[in-house]
Symmetry: C2
Subunit: 209 residues, 2 copies
């Protein structure tokens, strides 16, 4: 597994929380305003890219700078994703990908489906929210203290959903993308078992507040 960490431009509230994940990077990319996260983390990106519309300081030390035009089809994050896929990365942590503008958050959620379609997996990671996608599979999801577990159909319909080791289990349940039944479940063990036999299921761990 080759891991790419992309530092995106949205806020990061807790650098200590994300540091261990950044340390796992085989390829570290700072996308535009994400440069400030690299500085805060004391990390040297392999690549800094962007139109730098959200960054007007000097660029710090890094392996390489790629300047993108301001007017382009891809977001900076999506450009980074494509580049890392080309370089053989198959696991992604996107940090600074949540908690700012809702349009960017939504774009990053959809990027998880793009990654899956291209043979890779991704996690949107902050202390407040951890987001990933399951497709036709079963996963053991480690408990995160003080976080609820929610599942949403990203496909129109998800079939054969099983949730175990949680407060409100589901058994061979069918969930559609117009009825949010799977919100705010609770871990009842050190890991929850989440299965979706058919469809793309978005899993969100959200911190209680």
């Amino acid at each position: 597994m080759k891991t790419c960490v992309i530092l995106c431009a949205m806020p990061v509230s807790d650098y200590e929380f994300v540091q261990p994940y950044v340390n796992k990077a085989d390829l570290l990319i700072a996308a535009d305003g994400g440069v400030r996260h690299a500085q805060a983390l004391g990390a040297v990106p392999d690549i800094i890219l962007g139109d730098f519309d959200s960054w007007d300081g000097d660029l710090p030390a890094c392996g390489k700078v790629i300047r993108l035009p301001a007017e382009k089809d891809d977001t900076d994050t999506m450009f980074a994703v494509k580049l890392a896929l080309e370089r053989g990365c198959d696991f992604f942590y996107l940090i600074g990908a949540l908690g700012g503008r809702l349009d960017h958050t939504m774009a990053n959620i959809q990027t998880l489906a793009y990654l899956r379609e291209h043979g890779a997996r991704g996690v949107l990671l902050s202390r407040e929210n951890i987001v990933f996608l399951l497709k036709d599979e079963l996963a053991a999801v480690p408990r995160v203290p003080n976080h609820k577990l929610s599942v949403f159909a990203l496909s129109p319909v998800c079939r054969g959903i099983n949730l175990a080791q949680v407060k409100y289990p589901l058994r061979e349940y069918t969930l559609d993308n117009r009825f949010p039944l799977g919100v705010s479940n609770e871990f009842e063990a050190e890991q929850a078992i989440v299965q979706v036999r058919q469809g793309e299921l978005l899993v969100i761990l959200s911190e209680n507040n």
Copy 2:
């Protein structure tokens, strides 16, 4: 048109912005922690409902209180939506529905599709983000100063997307839910024209920051 306003439990940063919409309510429901928004707005809800897991004060004056069990399938918001649909409401503003926990935000986005399926329309409303859904239709979207306009396929595929009077127009475009191409467009007139011939298209107006 019979308008329901639901005050949900997530934060509201700007009461002045939402006040005119609250004033349009034929039916005003405060869902659980949304009670505090009613107080801040000086509004008397027709109905207050919830398990009151996010509210431990006294309940203010209102038409009716409905106490829900803490363990239930519906979220408080979804219970309010169903109730208002039964009472003939066909247009909904959900306030306090964004900007808190991502799982709740995602649930509320899916609720827009639930409303559409039940012959109604909804808008998730805050100063920072205005979110609604178009299905097989054309809409003139009024410019909101200092806001970007983004569109996302909520269906797996949206066909025949046309965007006009924006900086980056689209013409008979096909957008899928795994590639966020429609992010951060800009109004070029007092209204943008947004059309989707086939599919459910999520429209998000996000405040620049």
